[in-house]
Symmetry: C2
Subunit: 398 residues, 2 copies
Amino acid sequence: MTSATFKLARRCERLKASEIRELLKLTARPEIISFAGGLPAAELFPAREMAEITRRVLETEGCKALQYSTTEGDPTLRHHIAERMNRTQQTRVEADEILITSGSQQGLDLTGKLFLDPGDVVLCESPTYLGAINAFQAYEPGFVEVDTDDEGMVPAALEQALARHDRVKFVYAIPDFQNPSGRTWSLARRRALVEIAAREGVVVIEDSPYAELRFEGEPLPALHAVDTAGNVVFLGTFSKTFCPGLRCAWLAAPRALREKYVMVKQSADLHTSTLIQRQMAGYLELYGLEDNVRKVVDVYRERRDIMLGVFAEAMPEAVEITHPEGGLFLWLTFPGHVNARDLLEKSLEQHVAFVPGGAFFPNGGNENTARINFSCMQPEQIEEGSRRLCRVVAEVLG
Amino acid sequence: MTSATFKLARRCERLKASEIRELLKLTARPEIISFAGGLPAAELFPAREMAEITRRVLETEGCKALQYSTTEGDPTLRHHIAERMNRTQQTRVEADEILITSGSQQGLDLTGKLFLDPGDVVLCESPTYLGAINAFQAYEPGFVEVDTDDEGMVPAALEQALARHDRVKFVYAIPDFQNPSGRTWSLARRRALVEIAAREGVVVIEDSPYAELRFEGEPLPALHAVDTAGNVVFLGTFSKTFCPGLRCAWLAAPRALREKYVMVKQSADLHTSTLIQRQMAGYLELYGLEDNVRKVVDVYRERRDIMLGVFAEAMPEAVEITHPEGGLFLWLTFPGHVNARDLLEKSLEQHVAFVPGGAFFPNGGNENTARINFSCMQPEQIEEGSRRLCRVVAEVLG
């Protein structure tokens, strides 16, 4: 039997290796200045503190921290998460609405599994997060991109999409410092989305990995916070405020839905690592996340400013640049005739990498866009890489 | 919107909370002697060594151990796993055929995702592992139980099932100390399965969590080891030889298939915890697993013997009892009129729990069976609990 004859499921025709992760492999060479990945700055991770926490957890709890545990997750961790969400996101979540997930990617996968039959419809921003497209694709939905501007999804376009498609299962949105565009939804747009979705009987999936990484301006309430209908599922993670290598995240869902999520998680991986959950709960208790978040925000703000500074000075005027108030990414829109994949090839010759934007549009097109990460390179690399990128763009634009 | 109106995927009609895990909640009370779960003996977990390993990993690798990593998994860990498999399972696996998974449950889920369209057919032993039934159910297959006796699946029955069903995607089997029955396949049956499956062009999924926990008799080669067609996917885990709370497991698949598994894992959770993988690799390097396995085998053998001793003495003769040569479970078959669910109720009154066997038959029936775990209670509890169980059975049988 050769690989060609393995009889795989139909969904496999839709799955392709993530362009981002394939690129990450390419750009692992040390000479490359990579704005391609979405990696947090590793030098800010509290490695020493994690060792101390692990020692304490294993000393006080011993073997219990290494045993099977419940699918819902560690009660103490869920309590801390609810408390923290309510403090930072203006929500009113209770601990038993929380399900611990193995990274927010799992929250996306479980969401697809719970809601999507083949041919169902997902409404999403345009562009939207590539990892979510990949997670949902496995369940064979159609994607309808809703017109999105600097304030978020356009409500009239959302209503139109809901009127046109009768198999919409949920609206997927990243309201804060969106990946890939860096844009943040206004309060009015948040309210409009939640109201329309509740009225039309579709769930809102709020993916919120970046909300706490705000460099400037006032925090806005989460979609979950402006919802009164119990109709929003919130996906949160410690990957950006703490570190991603633990794969520790959560979702908050109305109880009846949370129970269903527990069932699909149970069949997917039984539960998230007991030890990781105890380490995370221990860290929150002993150190809290506030210092971490403050450090990350200061570092990323400086890096964004360096990049925006170079772009303001040297990027051709025909290129539109977003001004993210937080997060890890900004977004470039080139004149329509530019193909960012070609641009990437030229840019790689100068040892600078980014992600061509087309991959973030589930229905294709928009090849004249690019996602630029500013979180994981050192300031001098950002300065130098941004200059090189501007030169490449200027050359291509003539 | 009330919970009743959430529009969920069709597959959710098939998903139900695992009976085993619901029971585990019931039986958490300290007065209960539980033969219900499949928990390893926690007192054997190397908690102190894990703290030491974590200190070393974070000291030498620092932030790298907390950063994102590749979907395939840590190269060092994959290398150790391949080497260990070849030593203990008689396989010839290479490191790049290994994919690290978040527990073997994830290996099962990814298998369902990769192979199964609604209406496809899974061939399995009768009975089979409940966690696998749950994982595969999410992809809406039919299950065909192949006649199984004390030596494994009956080859003629397997051929008949393959002839009758043209949408068979894989054969799922647990050849060593099966969960739930405790039975082990003979070498002849292993060879027959692998040959028939290769000839008929269906993949074999070999679930092997227990093979190293052999109390007596000679180790038999894995299905993967007797396969020459590159047609067997092997699922292995550290949950039973080390500890389950890490959620660290793996699968070994022919390269072309391993690449597809990587894609479905990427969309499911990006990758398994970097830190957990480094801890596991570090443990294997510094301590190895041999002492652990030896300790576990000695303890479980003693516990099995106590249980079998009491049953031989006090269980009514009408009850069939398997004699597992390893693993965590034995299996009781009562006379046809006995319903093990009723028996469980009576048994719980005596503060003894087990799992009624009906749940392990995907197409139902066989309510006169029970799975009995002997790994996680102390010797005196096993002695006492087994005696009580015998009394309850004797009472029911009159």
